[in-house]
């Protein structure tokens, strides 16, 4: 178990290292620097600024410095967007907003996904199943921005004007309905599809026949014997779902004007605010990696067959 954990953590650190290196060098591939966008400062001022933030040094030195700072838990300070504020402070301020929307989205995705999946599996081959199949496939393929714009046209103008189109800093609870629905729709449909297929798989297993042969009621067979087994593969989807919801936040937060980390990240890319790009990327990547690991450990508690120490393939 400990060996497994160590291995996974090591892999995670390697992945983070890869992400930070890729991000760093990609970012610097872009011609022009952070201080060139609006009115170009004079050469002297530019040189001074670059010296201040260490941009005059060769790339690998800059990267080395960044890594050194990171080892002290320091992501550096913002160049432009919130001048000289530490990136850590900015993340601390913005991430909870993203997290809130993300968690709401996740909760509704998980609950409805499992319910719809079970309904579809129960009516397999029937009309309800076919309708759900098309609807959930539609939900999976709907790009977030299309969902968001359709919802906005329907509920925040266009057809009915009953919900706000913008989620400001002090938004009421109902302002979160549209963004959370948007964000959770695709994961919800994915969960429904996974649940359906693993439920059907579970219902075809020999132990289900045993349970029926014991004289257990139909409801108990489905909810005790099949569902528990069917949920095991579904749990493994929660890891990728976290990643999806965080990155899906880029679009949702942009469209609904939510002051979260995703929107800020998109803005920081166009502003070339290097420390924010680096800090946010590494932070989000770390979050996803930790969540994936947590899900894998959670797996062990649900499925007694999995022995993490022996898991090598």
């Amino acid at each position: 178990m400990i060996k497994y954990l160590l291995k996974r953590v090591l892999m995670g650190i390697l992945a983070l290292f890869a992400v930070s290196a890729i991000t760093f060098f990609l970012m610097n591939l872009v011609p022009g620097g952070p201080f060139l966008s609006e009115k170009a400062p004079s050469a002297a001022v530019l040189a001074k600024l670059e010296e201040k933030y260490g941009l005059d040094k060769p790339l690998y030195v800059q990267y080395g410095n960044w890594l050194k700072d990171l080892a002290h838990g320091d992501f550096g300070v913002s160049f432009k967007m919130q001048k000289n504020r530490p990136v850590t402070t900015i993340i601390k301020e913005m991430f909870p907003v993203s997290l809130k929307v993300g968690i709401y989205a996740m909760i509704w995705a998980i609950i409805f996904g499992i319910v719809f999946g079970c309904i579809a599996a129960y009516h397999r081959g029937g009309i309800i199943d076919s309708v759900l199949r098309v609807v959930t496939t539609l939900g999976v393929v709907l790009p977030t921005f299309v969902t968001a714009s359709i919802l906005l046209v329907l509920f925040a103008g266009g057809v009915w004007k009953i919900l706000p189109s913008i989620v400001g800093a002090h938004a009421k609870w109902y302002a979160y309905i549209l963004p959370c629905f948007t964000l959770g729709l695709s994961p919800m449909c994915n969960i429904a599809r996974y649940t359906r297929s693993s439920m059907l798989d579970a219902l075809g297993q020999d132990y289900i026949r045993t349970a029926y042969a014991k004289g257990v009621s139909n409801r108990k067979v489905i909810f005790k014997h099949a569902l528990r087994n069917a949920l095991i593969p579904v749990v493994s989807y929660i890891g990728p779902m976290t990643a999806y919801i965080l990155t899906g936040g880029f679009v949702t937060e942009t469209v609904f004007n939510i002051p979260g980390l995703g929107r800020y990240f998109v803005q920081s890319i166009s502003n070339r605010d290097y420390p924010i790009i680096m800090g946010t990327t590494v932070f989000l990547a770390a979050f996803v990696i930790v969540m994936t690991l947590a899900v894998d450990i959670l797996y062990k508690f649900i499925d007694p067959r999995i022995d993490l120490a022996k898991e090598d393939e």
């Binding site: 892999m11 890729i22 970012m27 393929v141 790009p143 714009s149 990155t247 998109v266 994936t292």
Partner: protein, 369 residues
């Protein structure tokens, strides 16, 4: 005189009695050994079906997938043959027909109609620059389709080579290759894709421009036709999106490699290449096709996502994603401009997914019942 059959002390069900009566009187001849030919005729010859025939039969039975296939074909016709029938060019700005609603005619066009001339309608209307939306949608769908198919082929090539090498060589090579794959898999893709497309684009632009207008070589010409952003999308796919395909192929190869028929072929002295060609490839091809088909919508999806964030296809060329993105500004007033490309995009993605699912079910022999 045939001997009559006496049936003493027999417990006969009604049906059996009926059968006996049907046959009529039994004769000694009936109790003579039957000729071999009659016995053989007795065994009905079952039709045997080849793999593809069987897969096609299963696919045809899947009604949802067949409908999806028809829809895909219709969209392909719309995208590739459509522009021939529409007299408007996708990049041309018709100054006199700005902001027309679907089927609306501009004042000058109305005048021509009144004069008895036939004017082709703007079926989907026009945009703020006076460009015909139907013509743009056709080209947009064409670009989206082309990106989807090409990216899927790219993924197929890289993924299957990586997966096949990893699975076939095995041992330390496999372990290292799988670790690399795991690291790539744990990178949040959209994050990197976003950065990648932002950063590659200007470089590619600079690269293409560096050749000058006159002496471009074939490579640079190709790049400028594709456009930097589309190239960036392909690079993203080449770097990040082949892992699923590689995993599928590796899994298949590993599973097949240790199966008895491969061991048997090896024992009979078949060469490695022959084993790959005759045993591994035919068994993998089904899942390769299905996975490629499911990769197409994922590529279209990614392209539309990037176009939406403003780093995708550039004007005057367009794609379904960038048309949606362009329409967002006047979303409440000109809703049709958003709805039309979004609907086509959706139908396209949906059809490819449903068809891909059906294809996977049909081609996967393990699901055979």
């Amino acid at each position: 005189m045939p001997k009559r059959l006496k049936i003493p002390s027999l417990r006969l069900s009604d049906e059996k009695v009926a059968q006996l009566i049907d046959i009529g009187t039994l004769t000694v001849q009936d109790f003579a050994p039957a000729p071999q030919d009659d016995k053989e005729d007795f065994i009905p010859k079952a039709k045997s079906m080849g793999y593809w025939q069987d897969a096609w039969r299963r696919l045809r039975r899947n009604r949802v997938s067949m409908v999806a296939l028809v829809v895909i074909l219709l969209i392909i016709i719309f995208a590739f043959a459509g522009p021939k029938f529409v007299p408007y060019k996708y990049q041309e700005q018709y100054r006199s027909s700005l902001n027309l609603a679907p089927m609306e005619y501009s004042a000058s066009e109305q005048a021509r109609i009144d004069a008895g001339e036939k004017v082709f309608p703007h079926v989907f209307g026009t945009d703020t620059h006076g460009r015909d939306i139907m013509a743009r949608t056709m080209v947009g769908a064409r670009v989206s389709l082309a990106i989807g198919v090409l990216a899927a082929i790219l993924v197929l090539i890289i993924g299957s080579i990586y997966g096949a090498v990893s699975g076939l060589v095995g041992g330390l090579t496999d372990a290292v290759m799988m670790r690399i794959l795991e690291i790539i898999a744990s990178i949040p893709d959209v994050l990197v894709v976003l950065l990648l497309s932002v950063s590659i684009k200007p470089r590619l632009e600079a690269f293409v421009n560096s050749f000058g207008a006159s002496n471009k070589n074939a490579f640079a010409r190709g790049l400028s036709v594709l456009g930097p952003s589309i190239t960036a999308i392909f690079i993203c796919f080449a770097i990040l999106y082949w892992i699923t395909m590689a995993r599928i192929i590796r899994g298949q190869v590993l599973q097949l490699k240790n199966q008895e028929f491969v061991t048997a072929a090896r024992a009979l002295g078949a060469s490695q290449w022959r084993i790959i060609r005759k045993h591994l490839l035919p068994n993998c091809i089904g899942s390769m096709i299905a996975a490629t088909c499911l990769q197409i919508p994922s590529a279209i999806f990614l392209e539309s996502f990037l176009s939406f964030l403003g780093v995708g296809v550039q004007a005057p060329l367009t794609s379904l994603g960038s048309m949606c993105s362009d329409a967002l500004g006047g979303m409440y007033t000109y809703t049709y401009r958003l709805v039309i490309p979004a609907a086509i995009l959706l139908v396209l993605l949906l059809s490819f997914n449903l068809f891909g699912d059906g294809l996977r079910d049909a081609l996967d022999p393990r699901l055979k019942k």
